[in-house]
Each structure stands twice: as C-alpha cells, then as structure tokens.
C-alpha cells in the first residue's frame, strides 16, 4: 500500500474534482438530455474512475462505477433517454462513489458497505430503460446513433493530435543540439506546411546545423536561397503563437496551500523590511540608494499583490455544487426551480471560500424550501411555474458581494414580527416603529429561528442566526430585503481576504491597537466644552448623544484594565498610562470610535486616533486565543507589534461590565412606564414659521451639503453622496404647498451658493435627501392629541415641544418625489392619494 500512496492520493484529488463536475454535468444534462458533449464528459469521468479504481484494486468502487458506465454508454449511444429517475440513480451512484472515495481517503479502503441495491437499481434501469426506448420512443437520436456507437478511445486521440508532420524525420537530430533542434523541427515543419520550403531543404539545413554550423535553421535556409527572410519571420511568428497556445494547457500546477501560506508570511516580512529600509532612505542623500529603495518598494508591493492572488479562487468553485443541491431540494419539495448564476469568476481568498460554503448552502436550501412557492401557487399568482434562484457575485469597494435572490412569495413580515414579539425579542411598541427592512432582518435573530422549526411563517427562520454568525465571523455582513409576492433577496458582503485588512490604528495607554475597518462607523472628536458636557452618565454608565441617539461608551482602558488604578497585569506601559481618561475627568479631548457589532452600536473611547493602514493579520496562537477582545496581532511599519481588537468581543466583554448598569437603568425605566410610547422626532422649520417633524428612526444622517455640490439629473436635483446619487427633494415641493407657488421658478432658485440642510432619510432601502430650511431639534414625544392631516404627505398634526407640528408621511413623500415631474400638471406629483 505504501508505494501506492502517492498514486492513490493523486487519484483522490483528481476524482474529487471530477465528481464536482459530474454533479453539475448531470443536472445540466437533465435540462439538455441530448447534449452529446456533456454526456461524453460524464462518461469520460466515470470511465476514468472505473479504470483507475480497477487498477488500484478498489473492487467495490469499480463495480459501482462499472454499472454507471454501462448506463451512460447506453445514454450516449442513444439507446436510452434520460428521465428524472435515471438522473436520480446516476446521482446516487455519484454519491456512492464520493462516499467510497472519502472512506479511502480516511482509512485507506472503501469501507464496509453494500452497494448491491444501488447496482441492482442501476442494472434494472439499464434493461428496463432500453426496452422502453426502443419500443415507445424511437427518438430522432437514433438517426445519429450511428456516429455515437464508437467506443471511448475517441477522446484519447484528441490530446495526441498535435503531432508534427516531419517528427520522424527530424527526430534523430534531437540528441545533438536540443535547443536549436526543437526550433528547427517546428520551424521547418511550418515552412514545409506553408509550402515555402521542401522537406529536403529543411533536412539539409538541419544536417548542416548538426555538422557544427552555429546559425539557426532559418538563417541557413535564407542563406541557401531556399526561402525568403520574410517567410522565415512569418513562420517564426506562427511558431511563437503555437507555443503560447500550448502554454495555456500546461500553465497551471497544483501547489500545496501550506507553501502559499509560507510565501505569504515571507512576503509580509519582506514588506516590513522594505518599510524599514524606506525609513533609512528618507534620511540619506545618496540618490542611488533612494532609487533602489523606490524600486524595492514597487517590487515588494507587486509581489505582495501577486502572492495574494495565488490564494484567490473563483467563487464558482463553491457554487458548482449548488445546481445539484437545488435539484435535490426542489425535487423533495415538489417545486420547479431554475438556478441562475452570475459572476462565478469573482475571486476571493481560499479560506473565505471555505467559510462561506455552509452559510450559502443554507441560504439556497431556505430559498427553495420557504421562498419559492409550489408550481400551482405560482401559476395562480401569474408567475412562471418554474421559480428562479439567482446567485450573483461581484466585487465592490474592496469587498465581495454575494446575492441570493428568489422570485418567491417573499417574507410575511407581519408574521415574522408577530413571532418576534411572541418570543420576547422585541416589544410590540418597538415592532410598530420598525421599518420593513428591520422587520425582514429579524429573521436573523437567534431566538426566532431556533423556535418551532416549521411555523409556516413563510419561515426562513431555520438556522438563519447561524448563517449570520458565520458570515460575521469572517468580517462580513448580511442583509435581507423582501417584497411581498415578488421574492426575497439576501445580500452578503465579505472582505476579499482575511490575511490583509484595512484597519484604523488607535492609541490607548501608550499602546497601539488596530480596529478592523469593517466594523467602523464613524469617528467623533470632542474638544473642550463638548468633551466636558457631551459625555453623560446613566447610573455610572457613560453615554454620548450622537445625533440624538444615546450611544453607550466603552473606555478601551477600562476594558483592557490598563487604566492607572487597575493593576495586576504585567504592563511596562501602565506607569505612563496613568493619565486619566479625558471623558471621565472632563477635560482635554475625547476621541470616540463609533463601532458596530452584532447589530449593536457603541463608542470606544481611545486616547488617540492615528490613521488607517492595511495590516497583515497574524493569529495570536492558542495561548492568548481565549482573550476575546483580540482578533490577532499585526506588525506595524516600524517593526513593533500591535494588537488587533475584536469588536464583537469588545462589545460582549463590556456588556458584562455594563450588566449592573443595565439593571439600574431598567429600574429607572420602570419608573416611567409610558416611556415606550415615546417616539423620537427630528423637528425642522417649514414655511412661514410652521413646524414639521419626521421620525428619527427613518433618519440616516443629517448633512450640510454645499449648494455647489447639487447637480441636476433629468427632472431631479441630486447630489453625489457616499458614492451614490442621492435624490434631493425640497420639502416645499413634496407637500401641497407647491400648488401655490411658482414651482418651476422655485426649482431654478434652489440656492447653489449656500449650504443646504439635508435630512438623509431611508425608506425601504432607498435613500433620499429632504432639503429643509432649518433643523430645529431632536425631541422625544409621547402620543399627544392628534388632528387629522390637512394635506397629503402629512400623517397628522400634533403638539410637539409646545408647538403644533406636522408629522410627515415619509413613504408618501418619497413616492411623490419619484413621480415628480415639474413639467407635468400639479396633480401628478401628489402622494398616494
């Protein structure tokens, strides 16, 4: 067995690749039963497995593959036609082969198994099927069968075909001058085949070269007047393009991943060495050294990039097994599903590919099981009975986006919310205030999913929290959007690689820490008075009002216990870290890094915020792994080590700290029960001193946009905002007021010279900017007396902060804004009335 090990290993690797393709091919074949190319490919794969397993004395494997091969041979020859039963049996055979291969890999043999049933089934189909086809369906394929009956060797000859015409003639020359010879061979061949030279002339030239002529064959031929130099040049060009074509088939090799990892480490070191050298070259006057340093810089960067690329794999390598999954799941739930893939070639790091395999499989299964309806239901809804599952992958902003969408019934948001309330995940008041998007994302909540598995809450709950955790573990995010009756779309964003991540470098207690940028939301700096007053305490727990919302603050020094008073940790730096945190003592600058983890936002207070950098992530090793606040370590440009903070770990460990505060706050909360009735509102001034408000929950940001940045797109005013085009809607237009005004004129007078106060609102995943005159305040308001709306676009009027205020109906304004066309008559733009 020992000397066989290498062969077996190679066999396993090869077969695994083949099997993956087989799955795909079989499913494909079912759709196009007459595609001879796919059939040939399937047949070839099984044939190879059978042959090799026979050679390696894996008898059981051979016998299973053998029946499969027989069946496929009949299919290929047109004696059988493919039907689902047959495909299922063939897929079962592939599964059996796969299991045996796994067993061979693990223990060295096929394992105890009985495949008689499978073999019998395949044999039955073999005989039954052939009788059926000959009798019942004499398909047109029979006509073609004449060409198809030829057995396998067909493919084998193909690979040997590029044999040269005069190989036998030039052959003997090989040992003498290998370099010149190989050239002369093909160059001579090309010239002969083009009719430029006769075989005799070429042979003569080759003979001369062998006799010791240092010149090349082409030169000799030109000299002899046999060919023109122009012709030789053309032949040479042809020769080169041939060499290229040949290179493509031989241009890939298998490389051990361990070796790639080692390369990656070495390159990391090289980059550090380069950084150090660059620092020296900055001080030197020697121009030679400076140029050499710059070249080193460029080469090292390129090398780093190339090595990164070697670890990249197309996402198609995971996706390739989904057609099979889709087929199986669809069959078992009696649904018709077609899978579509876009962007299979999108590349990402190998380790990430491994990590997303399971979550993706889960999402695919879910989409079919719960998303896509039964054919009858689809027909009733006026849809194609065959559902479509679309998988899309693309690169965007240094991240890989993966979307899995179905055109099914969509989530039943009401039921999801109901369930969430029932499970105590959210309060009913909270539920009432949720946006549709928030509701949809409830399916990722842990408690919801592990509940009764099939509540027929157009479900999607099963294990979705696991999907979310797995995606977040690799620094990704997941989001779901749904439209009732139209379908559901899950969007996943993951980083390209885990090895190198962009990170924010901060300092705390004299030490640098890196925070992965994926969890970073924004930075807030408070100076002087702001620092003194901005941070408030709720029963000792510091909070900061960030645009009206309370942001819990976590002091990095406290979490890490590096603050002066606390000790017991071996810290050389702790002596100098003794200076108190600015926030607590109310002076100096407070730097808040606003982070998001697990849906929770919190502010991390650090001493100093330095810069963003691409850092190479190094694992911390077992010794320190249990400290959840670290995600790893990295070596900075100056050669020093910095720790990478794990934002999720930070949040968790600080919430333990904050638990007591939480309880205190809960008590406080009970004292004012009606608190839950409160709604946070953004107040702003309307025309002529009137006041208006929108719910804060719909507000994404408040922005001051310079008038010069406002552009015109068609009939709309827009601005470029965070890489997107943000439509701007003037509040006076959105409301009925415009009827009383010269609307067109007003558009023209949209002041470009001053800054516009813009509320960036979000509704159903769309953003738009509401241009207002003046933002007044952010208030909490209970449900006071309400009066019915006086105009469209307004939900109701109420007394807020002692003034009568109109509460805007944001979705209505948005849809009004969308259909708004200044050339149309006034009525056109009015909201859903």
């Amino acid at each position: 067995m020992n000397e066989n090990d290498d062969i077996v290993k190679e066999f396993l690797v090869e077969s695994h690749e083949n099997l993956d393709r087989l799955d795909r091919d079989l499913v494909e074949l079912e759709k196009h039963p007459s595609d001879r190319e796919i059939l040939a490919s399937v047949f070839r794969t099984i044939h190879t497995i059978k042959g090799t397993s026979g050679f390696l004395a894996f008898g059981k494997l051979e016998s299973v593959a053998h029946v499969g091969e027989n069946l496929l041979a009949k299919l290929r020859d047109g004696q059988l036609s493919l039907h689902p039963e047959l495909t299922t049996a063939l897929l079962a055979m592939v599964d059996a082969v796969r299991q045996m291969l796994a067993s061979i890999e693990a223990v060295g043999n096929e394992g105890e198994r009985d495949d008689q049933k499978l073999i019998a089934e395949l044999t039955r189909l073999l005989t039954a099927g052939s009788a059926a086809t000959t009798a019942a369906s004499p398909r047109s394929r029979k006509a073609k069968a004449g060409t198809g009956t030829k057995p396998v060797p067909k493919e084998k000859t193909v690979s040997e075909s590029p044999a040269s015409i005069s190989a036998s003639e030039a052959g003997p020359a090989q040992p003498v001058t290998p370099a010149g010879d190989s050239e002369s061979q093909s160059l001579g061949d090309i010239l002969i085949s083009r009719g430029e030279a006769t075989p005799g002339e070429v042979l003569l030239a080759v003979a001369e070269q062998q006799a010791g002529d240092p010149r090349r064959v082409g030169e000799i031929l030109v000299e002899q007047g046999a060919v023109k130099s122009q012709e030789v040049l053309e032949a040479l060009r042809a020769q080169q393009s041939q060499a290229h074509a040949q290179g493509a088939s031989e241009s890939t090799i298998r490389v051990d991943v361990g070796l790639l990892d080692q390369l990656m480490n070495l390159v990391g070191e090289l980059v550090l060495a380069r950084n150090q050298i660059l620092q020296f070259t900055k001080k030197t006057e020697e121009s030679g050294l400076v140029t050499a340093g710059q070249r080193l810089n460029l080469i090292a960067s390129e090398l780093q990039e190339s090595v990164m690329k070697t670890r990249m794999q197309p996402i198609g390598s995971v996706w390739s097994r989904f057609p099979r999954t889709v087929r199986d799941v669809a069959l078992s739930c009696h649904k018709q599903v077609r899978i579509q893939m876009e962007g299979q070639e999108t590349e990402l790091d190998k380790t990430l590919i491994e990590a997303i395999k399971d979550p993706l499989t889960h999402l695919v299964r879910n989409a079919i099981d719960h998303g896509i309806e039964l054919p009858e239901a689809r027909r009733a809804a006026g849809k194609d009975p065959e559902g479509v599952l679309l998988m899309r992958a693309f690169h965007e902003g240094g991240q890989v986006n993966i979307e899995i969408s179905d055109d099914g019934a969509g989530l039943n948001l009401q039921k999801v919310v109901q369930k969430a309330v029932q499970k105590g995940l959210i309060t009913s008041d909270h539920a009432a205030r949720m946006s549709e998007r928030e509701m949809a994302n409830l399916i990722f909540a842990a408690g919801l999913s592990t509940a009764e598995k099939v509540t027929n809450v157009s479900g999607r709950g099963v294990g979705m929290d696991v999907v979310k955790t797995n995606i977040e573990r690799i620094g990704g995010t997941v989001d779901v959007q749904t439209t009732t009756g139209k379908g559901t779309s899950v969007k996943i964003k993951i980083p390209l690689t885990l090895a190198i991540v962009p990170a924010l470098i901060v300092t705390s207690g004299g030490q640098r820490f890196a925070i992965p940028q994926v969890s970073l939301l924004e930075l807030v700096g408070l100076d002087g008075d702001q620092a003194r007053q901005g941070v408030e305490l709720i029963h000792g727990a510091p909070v900061y009002r960030l645009r009206g919302r309370l942001l819990p603050l976590v002091h990095l020094k406290e979490v890490l216990k590096t603050g002066g008073a606390v000790d017991g940790t071996p810290l050389e730096a702790s002596s100098q870290a003794g200076e108190p945190d600015g926030a607590r003592d109310g002076f100096e600058r407070v730097n808040i890094v606003v982070l998001q983890a697990d849906g929770r936002r919190f502010g991390l207070v650090v001493d100093e915020i330095s810069d963003t950098e691409e850092i190479v992530v190094k694992p911390l090793g077992r010794h320190l792994k249990h400290i959840s606040v670290y995600a790893g370590a990295s070596i900075m440009g100056d050669g020093k080590v910095a720790l990478i903070l794990d934002v999720l770990g930070l949040a968790q460990s600080s919430s333990i700290v904050a638990e007591t505060h939480e309880r205190a706050r809960a008590e406080q909360e009970q004292a004012r029960v009606q608190d839950s009735d409160l709604q946070k509102l953004v107040l702003f001034a309307g025309r002529a001193g009137s006041r208006m408000a929108v719910p804060l929950s719909m507000l994404a940001r408040l922005e001051n946009i310079p008038g010069a940045h406002v552009e015109r797109s068609g009939n709309q005013w827009v601005t470029q905002y965070r890489g997107q085009i943000l439509p701007l809607i003037r509040i006076s237009h959105a409301l009925e007021e415009r009827r009383n005004m010269e609307r067109a004129a007003d558009i023209l007078t949209l002041p470009t010279s001053v800054n516009l106060q813009v509320l960036v609102l979000e509704n159903q995943g769309k953003s738009f900017g509401l241009v207002v005159n003046e933002i007044l305040d952010i208030v909490e308001s209970g449900s006071g007396p309400q009066s019915p709306p006086t105009r469209p676009g307004v939900l109701y009027s109420s007394v807020i902060a002692e003034h009568v205020t109109e509460l805007l109906d944001v979705p209505a304004i948005l849809s009004a804004g969308e259909s708004y066309d200044p050339l149309e008559s006034n009525a056109a733009g009015q909201a859903g009335s």
Binding site: L272, I627, K640
Partner: protein
C-alpha cells in the same frame, strides 16, 4: 558507555536550567515586547521575530521565582513547541552542556510543587544541579 544529550543551559535567579538543545531554535537579544492587556501574568508580551508574532513567557513568573531585578536584561530563548515558536525569557544563557543520561534523576520531592510540575528532572552535574525544563508546560497559561 552511556548516552549523552546536549542541553542549552541558562540561569534564572541563580538556578541552573537546561533545555534540550534541539528544541532551541535560537537565542536572541532582548527586544521591546508588546504587552498584552488581560493576558495571564506569565505572558510578558508579544515579540516580532522577523515578521512572526511570538508570545513571550516570563519564566521567573512561571516558576514563581522572585521578579527579575531591573538591572538584569533578560535573554530570549526561542523554543519550538507544539504551538509553534514561543519565546521564554531567562536571566542569562550559559554554555551548551553535554551530559550523560545516567546523571539524570526525577525531581526530588522537596522542590516546590510549582517547580516540580514544570521540570522533567535534574541532571547531577559536578558541583551543581541542572533543572531540565519541560518546555511544553513552560508555555502554558493555566487557562487551557
């Protein structure tokens, strides 16, 4: 004709210790360590060893010896362990000693229990004893 083994010797608080020389990857001069807040006390910090991040353990704390006086700059023994390379901090390195197998004896019971749990035994050398350090135990943090 007894077997001999090579030990790299080093000192901790005037005691002589030894680690089998093939386990030592190299000995490097002390360099600034990156402290790790929240880590167990025996972890002195992280070190950059040619681009590799290595955890450094303070042997004095591990063995519950007195803290190293400020005037002694430790040396870093880079040791191959199950978890890759680790760094053990010692006071001073001695020479490489060739010792005979027969001079080995398990640790006497009179040693402190902490010390006994970390050494494999002692070699009785002329005039003194060399404690053979169990390198795997020496880089445990007690938390795992």
């Amino acid at each position: 004709m007894s077997e001999t083994r090579q030990f790299c010797s080093f000192y901790l608080d005037h005691l002589l210790f030894g680690i089998e020389s093939q386990k030592i990857q190299e000995v490097v001069a002390y360099r600034e360590l990156r402290p790790v807040p929240l880590a167990p006390a025996v972890v002195s910090g992280l070190m950059n060893l040619r681009g590799q991040v290595v955890v450094a353990f303070e042997l004095r704390r591990q063995l519950e010896l007195a803290e190293r006086p400020a005037n002694i700059t430790p040396v870093c023994l880079m040791v191959r362990s199950d978890q890759g390379t680790v760094c053990l901090l010692a006071d001073e390195v001695g020479s490489v000693l060739e010792v005979e197998e027969k001079t080995f004896e398990p640790a006497p019971e009179t040693l402190s229990p902490r010390l006994r749990s970390l050494i494999l035994g002692v070699h009785k050398l002329e005039g003194r004893l060399m404690h053979v350090l169990d390198t795997e135990r020496a880089c445990e943090t007690g938390s795992n």
